[in-house]
Symmetry: C2
Subunit: 439 residues, 2 copies
């Protein structure tokens, strides 16, 4: 008998830290050595969509990411998220009627299929891990009927999947308080200001072309913790005060101060990577040229019009205000003309028009006298600050009614001997079929 | 009446810090925020030669650097060195006969001409400032008859010219103790081990091609002191212990430990530059590639065969031992083939022969899988550890008997209007001469 499939779909944002998380005091449950704070990027432009389906007819849990099936059991962190959500399961109710669809005590008999897609490439280095684990955690929490009162625990569960994922559950400006407890119950996210607080704030992402494989964040930060004396000092003596300054500056919409602090913190994070042994390099010459250009631009403009930050990769994330956006975009587009022109990646016609008519500040060329760095940037995204993870209508489902993914990645080409074998089997089957037909 | 010219010639080495000096607590007399230690490079390969001449017939002090005259009075530091040496003047005695040539009380009537040349290009970024001020200080101290008992004070005078110059007055492994006093009397160099202590030690300098103008050390370190929280911690909490470790390791010829400490300290120095606001960048992508290659080489070799250090510029200075030199050179030459081939810059035939016959460690290509970075390195120097500043015979003098430089740089082309004027004068003079001749 065909079992019912209970399904829902959510979307979750990515986030960019302005005060960085780098280094764990507990690698098993992702407890950090310092607090951090991020802006949640708008899901209109960058998001992870996740459909979760539960059914008795599923024999095991399964997971597809961007069209490719992953082994659920291969990831300790995915298992942790499943386990922690299931331990808190309530009833699954129909959102319209309130009818109980799955009772709390019935969940053990149902397995779950997860289908997840990012609308931005993983190679873009835009923290898809944080977005993905936030999506998984949120989706499962809705499926398993966790009440909103468990929001703090949900934050901890996302954190266990991937530390900074907890910051994607909320919108706007979100802190991750490091906590003091060994069990991590107090290491979770806290919304500092929501996404409506500062509508002027704008974000440009300069995706830097880089073929070099970089050290994973988890490996890199462990080596940093183990070997960098400067990192320990940063965590203990610099971040607490800086974070408080940053929260206050964001609350009062002091863009100059926010920009200064984010630039200093990005540089300090990368400084601790360099102080690691062996050293870890995430920024490249293009990243550094962008840094120089931003400082020159701010000086040429006579005020702070732009701040930069870099994560564990060469991409630049620039913050600015609506009124400065054409100028900042013009400077970026002029000095780092992207391989895919902005006409292809920027949705706003008015912004593209403003770009054409906005002159660069006169002093910029003398303060930043270098020729355009062609090919350094692959493309430029424009986005702003947006909401946290949210439910989507079933029309956005990534799965069919039976729970299987609607879109799968093209299968890898079969090896030659497999093709030969399949051909032989097909021929043999064809011959048998022919004989049967002739009888 | 022609006045006698008293002259002598010295040579002075450059030095490379293995624990870095970066940041002053007093910019007027160059007192550092932490101690440092360096190896003195062999003057056989890199040196500054300086001839100083004194005479009553000189109306003023003059100074030529690499064939170009500089304004003595334009440099507060040059004036400081002159002043401090003169204040301690003794008699100038003929070195052969002991006869007094200039009495202590006669010096006021004599002015000094200084002719100085580096045998390495300034653009090579090899600390020519330290070598130059050490040379000036030492040369003047010999001319003005300062006794050897004033060695400590001489160290302070060189320091006042350029901080790290004090380390070039001695050979081998030389520390610059930061001192505690405000007057700087205790901020001076101390020889940890002489140049004969570790004959195995070898140095390769990879001069990295870089057209970008970098921030001067003096300006950069001031901004670092003013803005980097990590620098303050480095100076107070990291360097003292690390320096003690380094001295002990050098004394016991523990190459693995010396190499590890020098690499960590170079990286930490550059980390504090990145933590500066605005950030200061001295290393470039070629520098970082060299770093990666060295770590891969040490891993492939199964032991530490090489250490790197970078000053305020992109050049790499590699330390190794005689037995590893062909391997290290082969790795550098393969992955960073210099624009000027090593056959042109390395004097040792046996080393060049060894280079041809030395295979790279088998695991290197998998640990460092990148294609050779052509054009990144301009040329490669080979040298070792050598003595401090020393007297040279008069046959090496850079000046004629009248004190003027034997070699001047080609004069700059005259501006057009000057040429026109000179031509007009010449024609007029020619006409007058003709008229006079015809009378």
């Amino acid at each position: 008998m065909q079992q019912p499939v209970f399904s829902l779909t959510i979307s979750s944002p990515t986030n960019i830290a302005l005060i960085k998380y780098w280094g764990k005091r507990d690698a098993k449950i992702n407890l950090p050595i310092n607090s951090s704070v991020s802006v949640t990027l708008n899901q209109r432009d960058l998001r992870t969509v996740t459909t979760v389906s539960a059914s008795r007819s599923f024999s095991r849990d399964r997971l597809w990411l961007n069209g490719e099936e992953e082994d659920v059991n291969a990831s300790r962190r995915v298992l942790a998220v499943f386990r922690e959500v299931r331990a808190r399961a309530g009833d699954l109710r129909d959102p319209k009627t309130g009818q109980v669809l799955v009772r709390k005590d019935e969940w053990d008999g149902l397995r779950v299929w997860v289908v997840s897609e990012n609308n931005f490439p993983t190679a873009a280095g835009l923290a898809s891990s944080a977005a993905g684990y936030a999506a998984l955690t949120f989706a499962l929490s809705k499926l398993y009927g966790l009440p909103d009162s468990l929001a703090d625990e949900l934050s901890c569960i996302a954190r266990m999947g991937s530390g900074s994922a907890c910051r994607s559950l909320a919108g706007g400006f979100v802190a991750w308080d490091m906590g003091q407890r060994a069990d991590g119950v107090d290491s979770r996210a806290r919304q500092v200001a929501d996404e409506a607080h500062w509508p002027e704030l704008q974000v440009l992402v300069l995706v830097v072309s880089d073929t070099k494989k970089t050290v994973s964040s988890t490996a890199g930060m462990q080596t940093s913790v183990d070997t960098s004396p400067l990192l320990a000092h940063r965590a203990a003596a610099v971040v607490p005060g800086r974070l408080a300054e940053m929260e206050a500056a964001y609350q009062s919409r002091d863009f100059g101060k926010v920009a200064e602090l984010m630039m200093r913190d990005s540089n300090q994070f990368h400084a601790t990577c360099l102080d690691t042994y062996p050293p870890v390099f995430y920024m490249n010459d293009a990243s550094r040229a962008i840094v120089r250009m931003v400082h020159a631009l701010n000086e040429a403009a006579g005020e702070t019009v732009c701040g930069y930050t870099f994560d564990a990769g060469p991409n630049a994330v620039l913050l600015t205000l609506k009124r400065h956006l054409p100028t900042v975009l013009a400077a970026a587009n002029t000095h780092f003309p992207p391989k895919r022109p902005v006409e292809a990646t920027l949705a706003s016609e008015s912004l593209l028009a403003a770009l054409k008519s906005t002159p660069l500040p006169p002093k910029l060329s003398s303060l930043y006298p270098l020729a355009p760095m062609r090919g350094a940037v692959s493309y430029i995204y424009h986005t702003d600050v947006g909401p946290g993870a949210m439910l989507l209508p079933d029309s956005e489902s990534l799965a069919g009614e039976d729970g299987t993914p609607l879109r799968l990645a093209a299968p890898a080409a079969s090896p030659p001997h497999q093709k030969l074998l399949l051909a032989a089997i097909a021929i043999a089957a064809g011959c048998v079929a022919l004989k049967v037909a002739r009888k």
